[in-house]
Symmetry: C2
């Protein structure tokens, strides 16, 4: 018997669509009934997470808790959050929501345990807000995983424009910039990469990047963890 997972989405809506699709793709199923049961809250009227992390805007926590409460009322037993930056408030959401929440970085770490390369550091590709929130750094350090990141200039000139281009419906142009950012981390020794923003996998999929095979997609990692949780495996 599969367990009912609640998905806190809407940050943004297309990233939630992408997460939902990856949950379906990552389920071994030949008929509808073998897919895992989900209830998805995609209520995008949540204050901007980036502004809040950078202390330039109001907290999104009350609206995120409202979403968790809607999912709880509907019968969800556990939550997945389809947004990297939102994990900045993970402890508050667990405590005030009263529900277990799968952590996106734990899901990434599970993928790293399967494919880990001890000989080379990990390249971590993320937005300023996700880095500022330190959700990856602290959990990777706990696992003694070495990582390197792009310089502030590279983030400003390659990663942020790549994300913006995906949001504008130009993933191929975004993918070219991202491929360049991946190449710079490779030159500095990275052997594997984590795409720690929901737009980045969309960009890299749109181009024939030689780095694609060495990238861990955080969205897909969370989708896999969600399927495992539902099936209790």
């Amino acid at each position: 018997m599969q367990r009912l997972l609640g998905v806190l989405g809407g940050m943004g809506p297309l990233a939630t669509v992408d997460f939902f699709r990856k949950v379906v793709e990552e389920t071994q199923a030949t008929v509808d009934q073998e897919h895992i049961p989900l209830i998805i809250d995609s209520v995008p009227q949540i204050p901007c997470r980036v502004a809040a992390v950078l202390r330039e805007g109001e907290s999104p926590v009350p609206q995120m808790l409202s979403g968790i409460m809607r999912l709880k009322k509907a019968g969800a037993e556990c939550i997945a959050i389809a947004c990297n930056t939102a994990h900045y408030w993970y402890d508050d959401l667990c405590e005030q929501g009263g529900m277990p929440i799968l952590h996106i970085v734990d899901a990434v770490a599970t993928e790293l345990e399967r494919t880990a390369r001890a000989d080379a550091p990990l390249g971590l590709l993320a937005t300023e807000a996700t880095l500022e929130a330190r959700i990856y750094q602290s959990r990777l350090a706990q696992r003694e995983i070495d990582f390197i990141i792009n310089t502030p200039e590279e983030r400003a000139e390659l990663i942020l424009p790549a994300i913006a281009l995906v949001k504008q419906g130009k993933p191929q142009q975004g993918g070219e910039l991202l491929d360049h950012a991946l190449g710079l981390l490779q030159e500095r020794g990275a052997g594997q990469y984590v795409l720690a923003c929901t737009e980045l996998p969309v960009a890299v999929d749109a181009v024939s990047s030689l780095h694609r095979a060495h990238c861990i997609d955080a969205t897909r990692a969370l989708a896999k963890a969600s399927v495992r949780w539902s099936l209790q495996t």
Copy 2:
């Protein structure tokens, strides 16, 4: 202020992903917060709708009502059902669910009103179960819209295999069969087509069919109706 729409999905899960994506695409929005709020129930443990319509399996109504109840508890004010065949039980679901439900054929009819061609009948492409359920025939007849359908042989040799190929991840091969089925309806006078099964738009999008511009996608029509309802326009 946007109103919260509940989506009864899971029939099947990928069709629900497709519907969700089309809702996002059909919303005029420049930031996350302008997208409409949705809560999606994708619990695929629902008995097969096709078998039930053909009186060869148990009723899916109790499970569909459970989904509507979950959405109601979560605060949804209206329901959209991301499955054509499920509308066979529309009256029961409205009555027993105690919630307004957007009807997929009404959504298609709204699109037809905008693009109607009085000079040629409509070609209706659907499964045996959707035709047997008569959800399209009765509502099109009420609006005095003439329509033609494929022969049983064409459905068996072209439409059903096209749907199966999409479910197997081969939309291009499915699209070639569907293009042939569209061409046969054109030879018999059809000037416009309704793709009344959630797999058919995926197939036609995968090939460069000359008929594409004359096809109404029932999934997208319901997505547009959902956005209009939420924005009360």
